[in-house]
Amino acid sequence: MSFVFWLLSAITVAGGLAAVLLKNLVHCALALTVVFTGLALLFLQLDAQFAGFAQILVYVGAVAILVVFAILLTRSSETPKDGGVFSRTWMAGLVIAAAVFAVLGWAVLQSEAGLPHETAVPNVTVQEIGNALMGRYVLPLEIVALLLTAAMIGAVIVAMHEKGDAK
């Protein structure tokens, strides 16, 4: 466990706490972006280039923006005037976050027994991931692609003007 690991972990955990505890929703979303970036840097520190850059590209570039847009479009993003940085319900937020973490941690710890035990550190390059996706895992990839396309068409139909409603 090097110094860099502890630094990145501290940034990620601080971002996570901020995302749970802060009062202003947009600040929470921006703190979540910090968490995504920290996770990506942790992946990079483990020499997983593809996972790290894909994390930044998808989560920081798209998901964070989506979250922020959702906040702005659904409810008022104006700061509550009654001072203070932390949310009034910070305790509930912390408890829910801890519960989700506990469930995830329990699931991960349980799954360890079912996996084949690997001793050597796998050296996974981007090229190998590409070959695996296009070779062995091509069917799951195509199914996911089909699912996403269906979801996108559904979203477009929901958002589309009704006939006659258009200007």
């Binding site: 202003n24 947009v26 600040h27 921006l30 972006t33 990506a40 280039q49 593809f50 850059f53 894909a54 930044i56 590209l57 920081v60 570039g61 798209a62 964070a64 923006i65 922020v68 847009f69 702005l72 993003s77 700061t79 390059t125 981007v126 090229q127």
Partner: protein
């Protein structure tokens, strides 16, 4: 002698690092590389701004800056001093921390992109296995900073401008990525160094640049369109239409923070031109085999400045698109064409060597582009100009 000129910056670095104890040399070399990037590209930014102001002046039949220094060439220095000394006004209601972080984040991310661009033979800061992916990851992060700037200003026009800019950048990021995927398919590598090396070959003295193949040319056109939109340049400069739309996400910025946005925008332009040069125009390789004696970095920087000149020329020539036209263009024309280009590139790959693939691939692309143009223009009626006003 010429080889020394080609590698002069590396030799200089090694000479400087040689004075340090051996344990420090690797780290010091990396720091020197970063200093090089942080020094050279803002220098090019100053030249690009001057070129833009003088060039646009010529196109609009006026002189442009002509007071500071001979022919106004010291204007960028005067501008820099002005923005450094101007008062920095933060709106009372603004979210001070986010308002401060937005321009800093933008410039940092814009500089990161240069780390993987090979600016000359052996001259790349980080030779990464997934260099292209890194570049696009950094490019995608700029959207967050634009949102931060627009939201933290607590100004309706800023927020609307940020929404406009982010929507545009997300829309055009898709074709930008897809047009680059073709290059990755052909090279079989995401490393920008390998992509340049694959293009650094010559047949009859002519280079193997990807732009000289049917799929490469089509991808380059789509890349250029998407890159212009991604850097918010005219004709896609709705995010900052200063005369009609109250600027945009940086309305509430002044002084040096505004200068940082300006710097970030031009760095984005320089780096996306650099990526286009690397992917399609052979990076640092010479345009003719006989010109190989010229140092490689000269070719890279000339190609970047040439791309910048074309961007300025386009800005001086084309009118601005409307927001709905902009979105329709991205999703209904540019995206399908990049997808088609992927198919054509796959066909090229599996038809093997020979002249047949040149004919088939060019024919498919020409047919589709000409057909789309004909069908699109059929509904247009060209008569006397009519005006519509907002109700």
């Amino acid at each position: 002698m010429l080889e020394k000129a080609d590698q002069i910056f590396l030799l200089l670095r090694d000479w400087l690092v040689g004075y340090l104890p051996p344990g420090w040399r690797a780290a010091a070399g990396a720091v020197l590389g970063v200093i090089g990037i942080v020094a050279v590209f803002p220098g090019l930014f100053a030249i690009a701004v001057l070129m833009e102001r003088k060039g646009l002046g010529r196109m609009q039949n006026r002189l442009g800056p002509n007071r500071v220094g001979p022919f106004g060439i010291l204007q960028p220095i005067a501008d820099a001093i002005k923005s450094l000394t101007k008062e920095d006004i933060v709106p009372t209601n603004a979210d001070a921390v986010v308002h401060f972080l937005a321009p800093v984040f933008l410039v940092v991310v814009a500089f990161m992109g240069f780390a993987v661009l090979p600016v000359g033979r052996n001259m790349v800061l980080v030779n990464m296995d997934a260099g292209l992916l890194f570049y696009f990851a950094m490019g995608a992060s700029t959207e967050v900073s634009i949102f931060m700037a627009g939201w933290s200003s607590r100004n309706k026009y800023s927020l609307l401008g940020a929404m406009r800019a982010v929507a545009q950048m997300i829309s055009y990021e898709v074709p930008l990525l897809l047009s680059s995927v073709v290059i990755v398919m052909m090279t079989g590598s995401l490393s920008l160094v390998k992509i340049v090396e694959a293009q650094n070959q010559y047949t009859w003295g002519l280079p193997h640049w990807y732009i000289f193949t049917p799929w490469g040319c089509a991808a380059f056109i789509m890349y250029a369109v998407a890159a212009t939109a991604e850097t918010n340049r005219s004709p896609f400069d709705l995010p900052e239409g200063e005369s009609e739309l109250v600027a945009g996400y940086f309305t509430e910025y002044s002084g040096f923070k505004f200068a940082l946005f300006f710097l970030g925008e031009y760095l984005g332009m320089l780096s996306i031109s650099g990526l286009g040069t690397t992917l399609f125009l052979g990076g640092w390789s010479a345009p003719l085999a006989v010109l190989n004696w010229v140092p490689s970095w000269i070719w890279f920087f000339s190609k970047i400045m040439l791309s910048i000149s074309v961007l300025i020329w386009v800005r001086g020539t084309l009118p601005r698109l409307r927001q709905d036209q902009l979105m329709n263009f991205a999703w209904k024309f540019v995206l399908p064409m990049t997808l088609l280009n992927l198919m054509v590139a796959a066909l090229w790959r599996f038809m093997g060597d020979g002249w047949a693939r040149w004919v088939v691939c060019s024919a498919i692309l020409l047919l589709v582009y000409v057909g789309a143009g004909r069908i699109g223009m059929r509904r247009e009626h060209f008569g006397p100009r009519t005006y519509r006003y907002a109700e």
